[in-house]
Point group: C2
Chain length 326, copies 2
């Protein structure tokens, strides 16, 4: 039952402190901070609400036995994979996520990567560093084909922007369907291998679930067109990194823009850093100036709904691992 | 008068040879190649048509006195500044240009530069070269403001793409007007200084004319917002390079993407190469794979109109220096 002095635990990455915008909550709730398994285990007894801002957290397992009053878990991320440990899945506790907050900026990042590949902006920068003037021909963007794997709110926004600049956009969802607003067609994940050869760009915008883990491996890269590029803004483990490195070395695909990795931070000696046709960013595609505050505001708004006994927004289907819209 | 065996001179940059797609003309006309003032002077007597593929040419003055039969000059570029020497301006000879061919790719380049600035793609690449994982926050694109200086076909296509991703786009044309499809408002060039402070991005898409030469100098850069970026895909001399370098050194603007320069190629020791917030490309924004063939086809189509006595397409207003649509 919601109470006026509800206890909220905010679980952050170590050393981060209370996120911007969460201070306001202290007026209406008892707010505790935790940053790893042991501090979470100490803080969680009596807590009704757990807000997880560290999307890589492994603290829940250690603290779970002490969660004696937990009624709601919120993640300030789109992906909830780290949260969905078996006892959370099996419990009746609702899990909500940050659906919507990152969509537009991630879609802008993806479109920017598409254009950067077509116009060889990375090549421009390397030539600039060498102070060399080298005229080249580049690729049009309009008319190119994009396959967005993951037809949730982020994938749909990516589809919308790519379509707005004249690209032909299809999607991959749980089941095939047509007549979609953003996507020309939506294919079922089971058909991935047969449709991959047709696309200039393949964008991974799926959540990490048992169904998507390792989805892109040797066979998928071989199926892609040799001139195609992969863009991953979903989760690192959806791609088999070793197979990706091999595909890049063998020229089976023509490049990759990667914002997420199996191991984050990407180790300093990892071969992916060294490819000229790989664009690397530090899991930041959606993190616009003010994102932490926006995430806090979204959580507080949902907290007010919870206090009032109203239905929570953005409730994750724990069996699927994401909000079930597709 | 058009004749079946019309003599056409194609003036290219030295050593380029006959552009792809022009061979087809040899079946229906006498095609001569020239690549500088002296070869043009030898080739031009008797020629009815001059097709100039070198947008930097200075050959016309030297050869002009020998042009005894010239009836039409075509430029395979959007800008015709190098062609419009006084005797061409004062003659009755129509000048046509390559309107339309480059529009979409240039607009894609501009949108890509906008997104690259917002998402700090250049910073990503430098960190990648150093094998460093550094998370940063970046800027949204939607909601940012763009001023497109030059409301011709290239400027309008830039406006269309920027608007499609949610930016607020205004234009600068010869005269102020509202109710435009691509632009929120179109301001007169005379009002430039007063409106410049309001924009996150200022894009130069104007032709080089006596009215635009040196248009961006010290006062204009001081008027721009310190967080604003300049993008020039028009012509180099529209910007006073010394003033631009000073503005970048003094932090009066936050960056520039430059595809065109007062001196091309940009000299190897030029200070512009060295700014981390300047993106340099080698006058190639519109040059997609197949551009030369597309330009040849556009010229040949116009040649057929000329042969048939039909009105030529894309006739430049020689007094203005561009096609008079705005």
């Amino acid at each position: 039952m919601p109470t006026a002095d509800a206890k909220i635990v905010v679980l952050t990455a170590p050393g981060e402190g209370l996120p911007e915008g969460m201070e306001a909550l202290k007026k209406e709730a008892e707010v505790h901070l935790a940053e790893d398994g042991s501090t979470l285990r100490n803080a969680i007894p009596g807590a009704a609400v757990l807000c997880v801002t560290d999307f890589r957290t492994d603290a829940l397992s250690e603290a779970w036995a002490a969660a004696d009053n937990l009624q709601w878990i919120h993640a300030t991320s789109a992906g909830v994979d780290a949260l969905l440990i078996p006892p959370v899945r099996e419990s009746d506790i609702p899990v909500t996520n940050a659906r919507g907050v990152f969509d537009l900026c991630i879609a802008e990042y993806v479109l920017g990567q598409v254009i950067s590949f077509c116009k060889d902006f990375a090549g421009n920068l390397r030539l600039q560093q060498a102070q060399q003037w080298v005229h080249r021909e580049t690729e049009p963007v309009a008319g190119r084909t994009v396959l967005v794997v993951g037809a949730g709110s982020i994938g749909r926004q990516i589809g919308r922007l790519c379509k707005a600049v004249g690209m032909a956009v299809d999607g991959v969802g749980r089941r095939a369907r047509s007549g979609d607003d953003e996507f020309g067609a939506i294919y079922a994940q089971a058909d991935l291998l047969s449709i991959l050869p047709d696309y200039d760009f393949v964008v991974i915008a799926a959540p990490l679930t048992p169904q998507t883990e390792g989805l892109f491996g040797q066979a998928e890269f071989k199926a892609m067109h040799p001139s195609a590029r992969l863009i991953n803004i979903g989760r690192g483990p959806i791609v088999q990194t070793t197979a990706l490195v091999a595909a890049l070395e063998n020229g089976e695909i023509d490049g990759a823009a990667l914002d997420v990795f199996e191991q984050e931070p990407l180790p300093a000696d990892h071969p992916l850093w060294g490819f000229e046709n790989v664009h690397i960013s530090a899991h930041m595609a959606g993190d616009f100036f003010g994102w932490r505050k926006a995430l806090s505001e979204q959580f507080i708004e949902n907290f007010h709904r919870w206090q009032a006994g109203d239905p929570l927004q953005n409730v994750v289907d724990k069996a699927q691992g994401f909000i079930g819209t597709n």
